[in-house]
């Protein structure tokens, strides 16, 4: 991939913050430096680079997140079957251990790369970048990145995907959006999976799950699907086609897209991330920080 995106040149030589050398001294001889930089800026930088790579190849990249066992791999198997012959698909699988999921996908005739994260509970942009070196995106329209099953940590790491899809399976209970707001707020689409179990689990009310989602100020579509039976994947397949068409139209115009909700770091990306000297660190540094933090909060692109 590096021939096209030039990451060999930038890898490892992109420094985070340049000091300007003019520092204020406090009474006890300390120097105060105002930084105002996302802790995840290194990850965000790599993620932006991954996104450029996807865009260069005309690929729509989707990050699938859910708790373990919500049906991400089953959904992908069914998706591959439904779209076989019409769209090029590739999959990156993240799990703590085993190649099991990648094998399930390969058995459907689709290229899949497994990332075994060891003890890491989430994928990050660097892991995905490494996996991309093992994946040929030629002829691929849709790249699914199946994140580690976990409703907490994956929400904080941008991988370079264009859209986040969060799965909520019926056996998990309909109040998951209220319990895991960071995860569900990040979703561009929420899929309520295993809807074939609704008749035996009447305590799960899809309307209630959707209400909890709206209480997170989310406008993401909420769709109910099942990988068993006929036709119950329609809302998902329709969303995929729509997103792919929209993405292609954007690429024609030389534009790209990020998930609707960006972590703070990504929003700050456009700002000059320099270390600024501050007069008195207790006052100027502090005030500057507030000004930046609040200013940054206004950019929702």
């Amino acid at each position: 991939m590096c021939e096209t995106c030039g990451c060999n040149i930038t890898q490892g030589n992109e420094h985070l913050v340049q000091g300007d050398g003019k520092l204020a001294r406090t009474g006890d001889g300390r120097a105060a430096v105002t930084v105002l930089k996302s802790l995840l800026s290194e990850n965000d930088h790599q993620a932006a680079h991954n996104r450029e790579h996807f865009d260069g190849q005309g690929v729509l990249a989707l990050n699938l997140m859910s708790s373990p066992g919500a049906g991400k791999t089953s959904l992908l198997e069914a998706t591959v079957e439904a779209l076989a012959g019409t769209l090029g698909i590739a999959v990156i699988e993240g799990d703590l251990e085993t190649e099991n999921d990648a094998q399930r996908i390969r058995a459907k005739g689709v290229p899949a790369v497994q990332i075994a994260t060891g003890s890491a509970c989430h994928l990050d942009a660097h892991m995905v970048h490494e996996a991309l070196h093992r994946l040929d995106l030629q002829g691929v329209d849709l790249l699914f990145i199946e994140n580690v099953g976990n409703l907490v940590c994956p929400a904080s790491f941008d991988l370079g995907q264009h859209r986040n899809v969060t799965l909520l399976s019926v056996p998990e209970g309909d109040d998951k959006p209220a319990k895991y707001p960071v995860m569900f707020r990040a979703a561009d689409l929420v899929l309520c999976t295993k809807s074939d179990l609704l008749p035996v689990l009447p305590e799960f009310q899809p309307q209630r799950a959707e209400r909890y989602l709206r209480e997170l100020a989310s406008v993401a579509p909420f769709e109910t699907v099942s990988t068993r039976g006929d036709g119950e994947l329609e809302p998902w397949l329709h969303w995929l086609q729509q997103e792919l068409a929209a993405h292609r139209a954007r690429l024609e115009l030389g534009r790209s897209i990020r998930p609707a909700i960006q972590p703070d770091g990504a929003r700050l990306h456009g700002e000059p991330g320099g270390a600024a000297a501050s007069g008195d660190h207790h006052h100027h540094g502090h005030a500057g920080m507030h000004a930046h933090a609040e200013g940054a909060g206004h950019h929702h692109d």
């Binding site: 000091g19 300390r30 105060a32 940590c153 909890y212 770091g265």
Partner: protein, 117 residues
């Protein structure tokens, strides 16, 4: 438990800034963390000494300033405080709001010891 990864990312930045300024020690690190960043301040504080051992910031005081969750309503324009899992407008109760604070995960400020050159 991604707090250790976050600490590692923090230390990469802190060490870089310390190097850029020729600092011999990092005395204090100020972070600004909102509840919707997905990072738990208490876990970050616990993970920090493990990640910082042997670095220029080993003895630094890590201070985490919490950021309040605040939303602005698209309908009525009010800016109000909200709970992390209930981002409704505090005035009109509408759900079409935008987060204006609460998902920060920022390295805000460092205090360094720099030998007189």
């Amino acid at each position: 438990m991604h707090e250790l990864s976050i600490c590692q990312a923090l230390l990469d930045q802190v060490e870089q800034i310390a190097r850029d300024h020729g600092a011999t020690r990092v005395e204090r690190i100020l972070l600004r963390v909102g509840p919707l960043s997905g990072v738990e301040p208490a876990l970050l504080l616990n993970a920090y000494p493990l990640a910082a051992a042997g670095t220029v910031a080993e003895l630094a005081e890590l201070v985490i300033e919490p950021a309040p969750v605040r939303v602005r309503c698209d309908d009525c324009g009010a800016e109000t405080e909200a709970a992390p899992n209930r981002l409704l407008c505090g005035d009109c109760g509408g759900w079409k709001t935008r987060l204006i604070s609460g998902d920060e995960l920022l390295l805000a400020n460092l205090e360094l010891t720099i030998p007189d050159g």
